[in-house]
Amino acid sequence: MTAVDNHGHGHGKHTVSQDYANPYVAGIGLGLVLLAAFVFVGRGLGASGAFASSLAWLLSGISPDHVRANEYLAGYLGEDGASPLKAWLVFEVAGVFMGALFSGLLAGRVRFAADKGPRVSTAVRLVTAFVGGMFIAVGAALARGCMSGQALTGGALLNAGSWLTMMMIFVGAYALAYFLRWQWR
């Protein structure tokens, strides 16, 4: 396989990276991973919760009293003084990093660069990435999960609130896509 159709990774340079997997094959694989999570631990996949746990841990190192006094962050503190990092999602997300790195190395896709459209500078792209991350964090907190914990996991469980969240994600993204095409096209 060559990198002819590698969706913006080549930038004209000759690369040896492989094409991405067929989306239906990748989807079945992802679905089986999700099913395994249900069968083994009775919960699905997630991601955003790991960042709340990590933040609770980070801030606890600076000001433990402040974290304990904050009702939202206090909910992510470990029981009986255990580290906030000793959480299911923190371990799962650490695994996501390792699994993606392994897949990327196998396919020759690990490359240090910002992913962006041709018309936008790296500096601007990094600003939009930061701002987007902030929106995502607040959205995930309000929705009680992100694309993994709500759309994917709750989608498979036929959770009513998850399907509502999923539909709103598509509405929000499609509504703004036209106004942000300078960043991607």
Partner: protein, 198 residues
Amino acid sequence: MNAPFLKFGMFGDETSLVIAFVIGVAFGFALERAGFGSAKKLISQFYLNDMAVLKVMFTAIVTAMLGLTYLGWMGVLDLSLVYLVPTHVGPQIVGGLLLGVGFIVGGYCPGTSVAATATGKTDALVFLAGMFAGTWVFAEMYPAVKGFYESGSGAQMTLPQAAGLPYGVVVFAVVLMAVGAFYGASLLEKRFGVKAEE
């Protein structure tokens, strides 16, 4: 055999963290294989020229849903022991919209930003920093938004319960909807896909 294994005491919480890591590795591997370590690939979904996000997500949802349904009917898996996030209509409408806005502005969702950071995307690393900042901002303003955050019923509710339909009927409807979405996606890619390659 009774599932979920953790709920039936086949292993303890410590072991469940090891399983979390292993499942995470498979999750991250699948995301990167699908191309979801790239913001441009993910965001193509919203310019209709590469509908991989929809295809992967709905294929995964249908696969896991059918697996759950089958294992439930076999009596192997007790579905009532699988955790269901409570439904809060108002916060989830606003939260979902913010997630969508953050996706098109930032280029990633939380899980895919980790996969992208692992493969060297500097924008994904900055996105992660933005998520920490956003979580912190939310935590600091929590007293002001708590009323809204906790609004809505907060009940654990499935679509079959909400619609008053048998579980199997909704499962069948979701499969039909997914197949329709896959067909629609292939039409949209034919219409918009070539133009984007230029």
